[in-house]
Subunit: 214 residues, 2 copies
DNA sequence: TCTTTTTCTGATTTGAAAGTCAGGAATACT
DNA sequence: AGTATTCCTGACTTTCAAATCAGAAAAAGA
């Protein structure tokens, strides 16, 4: 019981910063920027709180670093879309929507953060718009607009469609705690996930495609 | 410049508690529970911070009081539905959806709070489920289930449909800051609001109604 | 009028979380 | 080995918001 220390826990090597980023992403997305504390993040990453400040200047910088890590993963997955760059607009749109839902599912952090910051506004939203969601949103909107212009989709404002897709797509995952509470259902089961995916695609595309008889 | 005081601001009478509740609702919904501070609420209501603690034991009680006030207003508006209690299920559902969207619009606080707390989970969500959103959600789900049973709607899980409606319906309003940032559009304009309403109704009902040719 | 109760406030306490710093331990370099 | 550098930590300071409290001002009641 002298001073302390001893067990070298988990190879304190250069992975430390990465572990911190992961812990930060997890906590920021689950709790939002304010509720997540530096102390919790440090504990989750298995380091002292001061270590966080050694690797990242302040909480804000840590948040940005976590977001950039998330972006890297997502951009990688979205590269799938490039393969279909010359398909018909509504085909591309359907693919993009499926991919969007899949990514929402694989990275719940994204949807939660977009919902939290997109609601609050402020500097972090500005940053997110510039680095993460803005380009993504506008690309989707262009796709939707192309589908509208080609006559395949009813002429709703593309921006409204995209925001609605975003909200609806992330909704079931974001609102998992509420769903459990109100309905006793767990939306993280694969069956529920698939039902949700079909629901969105059927509803948005089924409901918005122009009827063939016109 | 002696001591201070003088102008009797806004009749400190029995409306004080009500003014505090309104200020609290405004700030809680705009900023969420944590970001909203007692000091700000007090300032908004035009009273001292200690007065908040005179009328409400602590921040949590104040939050509950604000929510109950919101519930009272909403319940009143929802009474409209009773008039259609014996229409066909899908007609009732369409009415309920319209009303839901209208309420989301008239009371942005509701959607924001549901999104914030429904994402976070915890005690406040438990309370909300018991007193505000649970009964509402389950009533809507029953309506949707009835429409499904009657064969008018495709057989998607009713709970998933309701959560999606909730997310999509409140989405454009909740994500107004993001929409402004990403698209430079203001969803609070009447035109945008109407487009959104038509979009949701068209998409969800148009896409989910069983085709007449089957 | 005097007294009591209700309503409200300034000043203060408490607690929690962000951020700082001097220095210890490990690693790399010579 | 000796030295420098990188990585990490415990202890501390600072900041900010919730909650408390003693009492002032106003209203109600006698």
């Amino acid at each position: 019981m002298s001073v302390a220390v001893a067990q070298p826990p988990a190879k304190k090597g250069p992975q430390t910063a990465a572990r911190i980023r992961e812990a930060a992403l997890e906590l920021f997305s689950r709790l939002g920027f304010e509720r997540a504390t530096m102390a919790e993040i440090a504990a989750e990453a298995g380091v002292s709180q001061a270590t966080l400040h050694y690797h990242f200047a302040d909480k804000d910088q840590l948040w940005r670093a976590a977001m950039l890590q998330l972006r890297a993963v997502i951009s990688e997955e979205e590269r799938l879309l490039e393969a279909a760059a010359d398909a018909a607009p509504e085909v591309q749109l359907r693919m993009a929507m499926r991919l969007f839902l899949r990514i929402s599912w694989n990275h719940p952090a994204l949807g939660r953060i977009v919902a939290l910051e997109g609601m609050a506004g402020g500097e972090r939203l500005d940053w997110l718009d510039a680095h993460l969601i803005g380009p993504r949103n506008r690309r989707l909107a262009e796709l939707a607009q192309a589908a509208i212009d080609s006559g395949a989709l009813k002429p709703f404002p593309a921006a409204t469609m995209i925001i609605t897709l975003q909200a609806a797509g992330a909704g079931v995952i974001n609102l998992a705690p509420m769903m459990r509470k109100s309905f006793g259902l767990d939306p993280s089961e694969p069956a529920a996930r698939e039902a949700h995916e079909r629901l969105i695609i059927d509803a948005l595309l089924g409901g918005l495609l122009t009827p063939r008889t016109t």
